[in-house]
């Protein structure tokens, strides 16, 4: 490495070290964010509040109700007197669902006749409503099955259903949504956290006039870019290791693929992100503008178009094509392949290639703009 590149890198590293806020933002905050998001950003719906309007008041209806509240998915939200009270409970949000048990429930149950319960579900949160309905049906299916088995046992036989699904969930057997989210979070945090401080570093030199001082020296644009980027790359790699460690300790996140590939993909991804920030800093003239562009250009696409929150598969065609430009999308795909699946290069070769092209592209652009600025054209 050239003397000039080294001088810039050392200076940059010193500046970061002297600025505890930036350092904290770069290193500690991502791990904390991962923990916060990991716990909060869960799509598992649990503890659905269910109120019961029991017209039957029989042993059978009580058994059905108690069975429901045995699971962690439902939690009692009180007994209701009449239908208007049920409407009030749903309106006021005290209950997400109301179970209406008819007057003859206990008698029909005892007689083994066809029986019905009504479920009123608040559909304002479609996802939660959908999950609640699924759990409820599952609970009923389970109750039916138990009942049928009892009947069969009474007749001395065993029931064999004609068709059964044997589900085996790979990569994440417990279907733990926090674990499937983690790779996405890692990709998101790495893109967003460093964005601000890195893009400020060049603009700050513009504002203070030190960039001018570098312009009159014989520093080449490539040396400047390398010197600026290397310390941040090192710090961000350390940050990533910290995040992955946090994911492992807190959420039992596995690493099934090769660590070497993970490092290579991370370097390419981080370089792409740093390139974007460098490009931003060549466009912006004040730290404030750089901050806003950086936040906008990295945060929203990395959150919305990266498969982190919204599945790309269910996006409209045009939006799906747009996601190709979002590096987080590709890195998240690679991370899922490496962390959860332990898949080989065939599974994530294309995303890695796209990331390489992306990094080369933004660096080329940033270096060209910087070269022109260093020449003062």
């Amino acid at each position: 490495m050239g003397r000039r590149t080294w001088a810039i890198a050392v200076k940059e590293a010193r500046q970061i070290r002297r600025d505890p806020r930036t350092l904290g933002l770069l290193v500690v905050v991502p791990a904390v964010m991962l923990a916060l998001y990991g716990y909060a950003l869960t799509f598992d719906v649990k503890h659905i509040r269910v109120a019961v309007l029991d017209h039957s008041r029989s042993a059978g209806s009580r058994a059905f109700r108690d069975g429901l509240f045995h699971s962690e998915y439902f939690q009692p939200a009180g007994a209701l007197a009449d239908l208007p009270a049920a409407a009030a409970a749903l309106d006021g949000g005290q209950a997400r669902a109301v179970l209406v048990i008819p007057r003859d429930f206990g008698a029909r149950l005892a007689a083994g006749e066809r029986n019905t319960v009504q479920a009123l579900i608040a559909g304002d949160n479609a996802h939660a409503a959908h999950v609640a309905l699924t759990y409820l049906e599952g609970h009923v299916r389970h109750a039916n099955r138990q009942r049928l088995d009892e009947l069969a046992a009474r007749h001395g036989t065993e029931l064999t259903p004609p068709l059964r699904v044997e589900p085996r969930v790979w990569y994440n057997p417990e279907l733990d949504s926090s674990r499937s989210l983690l790779p996405g979070l890692v990709g998101f945090l790495l893109m967003v956290i460093g964005a601000v401080s890195t893009s400020l570093s060049v603009v700050r030199e513009k504002e203070r006039g030190t960039l001018e001082q570098l312009q009159v020296s014989a520093v080449r644009p490539a040396e400047f870019v390398a010197g600026k980027v290397l310390p941040y790359l090192a710090i961000m790699l350390f940050t990533e290791a910290l995040i992955l460690l946090a994911a492992r300790v807190l959420f039992a996140m596995p690493l099934r693929g090769g660590a070497g590939w993970l490092l290579a993909a991370s370097v390419v991804y981080l370089l792409g992100g740093l390139g974007v920030r460098l490009l931003i800093s060549t466009i912006a003239t004040t730290q404030q503008v750089a901050f806003q562009i950086a936040a906008l250009a990295t945060m929203l696409p990395s959150m919305l178009l990266s498969d982190l929150v919204f599945p790309i598969a269910s996006m409209p065609w045009a939006l799906r094509q747009l996601t190709w430009l979002v590096p987080a999308r590709h890195f998240i795909a690679i991370l899922r392949g490496l962390l959860l699946k332990g898949a080989g290069p065939r599974a994530w070769g294309l995303p890695l290639l796209v990331l390489i092209v992306f990094a080369a592209g933004v660096f080329g652009l940033a270096a060209r703009r910087l070269a022109r600025q260093l020449r003062g054209a």
Partner: protein, 329 residues
């Protein structure tokens, strides 16, 4: 490195031919021709916006000329800016240092930027510390230094690679008078040691420190020469000082008389430029006495550079206004 006589461009430290830089429709530097011989201190003077900083930036190779040409130490600023950059030191009025780095770290950084090896970097850093009066302060953060020390440290950083030519863009704005004087002593020492210095300033008294002075206005060089030459020739006449009552009326009367140029209040008296000291003095006395003023004294005085510059800039402004008028009609 070809043997033989140096090219004419290499003979002077700085030379320009019709150097011009536009920003859109605005002409910041307009057809500037100049030559700065080696080892000289050349002062660039002029009001704000006259184009001094732009000219310096053009010469440093950090701004490309729109037209014309310039050579610094023989290197073409447009075709070989890298060659220029290796031969110059530059310091702006912002004393651009890294405030969160220590004195020693700033020196080490700039030594690295200029590509000095370790031994030379140490030697030059020691020189810069002594020059800036910062020995023993190596571990202080640059932002904690007082203005004068920051200025001298910035100068030291700009000189680490011992450039033959030094460009200073308003280096003394924002420091106290004592620091200003010390700074000029340093510049003299550098020039004595053979460094060519081009320095812009808006302090007119600093022009007296320079070997040659370029007076700029609206992007053009309106006068150039040694300070004493400019004092003698810049006015096309002699300054007379008139002490009288009602000096403001005296200015009006002289302005209308026609034979006195640039009458202006100067303290409690009036300065005006006349062709001949003796004839002008008696004419002024007569005219003012005839108008009912009491004239105490009229005597020729040595013109200050300030008189010359005001005179030259007003003349340039009048010429520019006349050119505009004739173009508009």
């Amino acid at each position: 490195m070809s043997p033989g006589p140096p090219s004419p461009a290499a003979a002077a430290a700085v030379r320009t031919e019709a150097l011009t830089r536009r920003f859109g429709a605005f002409v910041a530097v307009d057809q500037v021709w100049l030559t700065i011989p080696r080892g000289q201190i050349c002062g660039l003077l002029g009001p704000n916006g006259a184009g001094k900083s732009t000219l310096i930036r053009l010469l440093c190779g950090i701004l490309a000329p729109t037209s014309g040409a310039a050579w610094v130490d023989g290197c073409d600023v447009e075709r070989a800016p890298e060659c220029v950059k290796e031969r110059i030191g530059y310091m702006s009025q912002r004393f651009s240092l890294y405030g969160e780095l220590t004195v020693a770290e700033n020196l080490r950084f700039f030594a690295g930027i200029y590509g000095l090896d370790r031994r030379r970097a140490q030697q030059r850093a020691a020189w810069a510390l002594a020059m800036a009066g910062l020995r023993g302060q190596e571990q202080r953060l640059a932002r904690e230094l007082a203005g004068g020390f920051r200025q001298r440290l910035a100068l030291g950083c700009a000189l680490l690679h011992e450039p033959p030519i030094l460009f200073l863009d308003e280096p003394t704005s924002g420091v106290d008078p004592v620091a200003r004087r010390r700074f000029w002593e340093l510049i003299y020492q550098l020039a004595d040691a053979g460094t060519t210095v081009a320095v812009s300033t808006h302090f007119l008294d600093e022009a007296e420190h320079c070997h040659t002075v370029l007076l700029m206005d609206r992007g053009r060089v309106v006068a150039a020469g040694r300070p004493d030459e400019l004092r003698q020739q810049g006015l096309d006449g002699v300054v007379v000082e008139i002490a009288c009552d009602q000096p403001e009326r005296a200015v009006d009367i002289l302005a209308q008389a026609g034979w006195a140029r640039d009458p202006a209040l100067f303290g409690a008296s009036v300065h005006a430029v006349v062709d001949d000291a003796r004839a002008g003095a008696s004419r002024a006395r007569q005219a003012l006495t005839a108008a009912g003023l009491t004239v105490q004294a009229v005597r020729p005085v040595e013109s200050a550079l300030e008189d010359v510059f005001i005179h030259l800039i007003e003349r340039a402004d009048r010429a520019a206004a006349a050119a505009r008028r004739s173009r508009d009609h």
